[in-house]
Amino acid sequence: MTDESIMEAVKHGNLQQVSVLFERHHKPIFNFLAKMTMDRELAEDLTQNVFLRLMKYRNSYQEGKRFQSWLYQVARNVFSDHYQMNKNKYSKSMDVEKLKDSIEEKNETLDQTEREILLHKSMARLANEDRELLVLTRFEQMKYEEVAAIMETTVANIKVKVHRAIAKLREHYFELEKIN
């Protein structure tokens, strides 16, 4: 069964099928939200919300639309709702510390871990939109076409924005490296 046909079944009242969609997609969605929020526990909660929202707003799923695009649209909304509600907490510094736990240190050199923390700190400095684009295209390795479908814009536009975001990330990264 394709995701699309499962979603259509959900739309027609077979709500239990949402759990199949959860099983198939919760990992990338969790990773997306973890990198957006920099908070692992929160990302788990939000991931749950994404799939519950999928069910609640099932009637707004347009049949024939690519499921993955819709799923990420819902995920983006969940994140942005959360962000709007907790704006003040995010205002200055994203708490990269919380994410540290999840970076597994055991089999890696110290250098590797440090670089990863540096990377996440630089990511945290980016605007939400830039961070989102990088998470989708570089961390989750989605094609520009797929991201364009999610954001409902053109591939060319996405490419330009991603390139700018990478440039900004590079600047932050080496700026922070200097400080350290």
Partner: protein, 260 residues
């Protein structure tokens, strides 16, 4: 090098690293790299950032996540079906559902420690009420679909003690909704809470404000059944009003007889 050029160069370098350039552009980039020190530096930096990205491991969510989700999903489905099914069920069913719910919370408790468990329990019960309320208000507000609004009003049957926000939303629907069927459904829902003083007052006030004939009739019947003698004056006024539909007048007249 101007900013514009720098942006263009960096964009080309990213494509270069991605292997997204054709032969011609590849040569252009390589030529630039051979003579432009800054370009080379940017390329090295980009390489490092990108390898850092590629070396990040996917994060693992906790193993209980799927299970937790199954529970929330079950609770949510229960909630979704309520407006359709639960409101007619005898109390015992509702009690059973509540007990089932507590068991579910208990089940989750295996994966969370005890303190969190209590917090979760409270949060879930509160969420459930909030979710029901939100659903009711959202559906009552759906301008495009009268059926959705009717359904919204019937959600009120799942609420045992309504707060002011819910009562006011229902009152507004009863007095102002353009659709008769929606007004009736809202009246029905309010009738369920007739023992609340606030709701009684709303029903009595609606009798003089109500413009919809069918709702007027239903409202008179409800108030008469509630033995609300205070409405006799209003009923007399209605029974004398020449603008009013005959059926409404008859209803008012019957009401006067029953209440006096």
């Amino acid at each position: 090098m101007s900013a514009m050029e720098k942006e263009k160069l960096e964009s080309l370098l990213i494509d270069y690293l991605d292997g997204a350039l054709d032969a011609v552009n590849c040569r252009i980039v390589e030529e630039e790299l051979s003579k432009n020190y800054r370009a080379k530096k940017i390329l090295e930096e980009l390489k490092e950032v990108m390898s850092a990205i590629n070396n990040t491991k996917a994060m693992q969510s906790s193993s209980s996540m799927q299970l937790k989700f199954e529970y929330s999903l079950a609770a949510e489905i229960l909630l979704q079906q309520k407006p359709k099914q639960v409101f007619m069920k005898p109390r015992i069913y509702r009690a059973a559902a509540a007990i089932g719910f507590v068991f579910m919370i208990f089940g989750i408790g295996y994966w969370v420690n005890k303190n969190q468990q209590q917090a979760l329990e409270l949060a879930n019960l509160k969420n459930e009420m909030e979710a029901t309320k939100k659903m009711l208000m959202t559906m009552l507000d759906n301008r495009q679909s009268a059926s959705q609004r009717v359904q919204g009003a019937t959600i009120a049957y799942t609420i045992s003690k309504p707060d002011n926000e819910v009562v006011n939303a229902l009152a507004k629907a009863m007095n102002e909704d353009p659709n008769t069927n929606v007004r009736l459904a809202a009246l029905e829902a309010l009738t369920k809470f007739y023992q609340e003083e606030h709701v009684r007052r709303i029903l009595i006030k609606s009798l003089s404000d109500q413009k919809d004939e069918v709702v007027q009739m239903a409202l008179i019947q409800v108030l008469v059944k509630m033995k609300e003698k205070g409405i006799i004056k209003e009923l007399e006024k209605i029974s004398r009003d020449t603008q009013v539909l005959k059926a409404v007048k008859d209803e008012a007249f019957t009401g006067i007889l029953k209440l006096s």
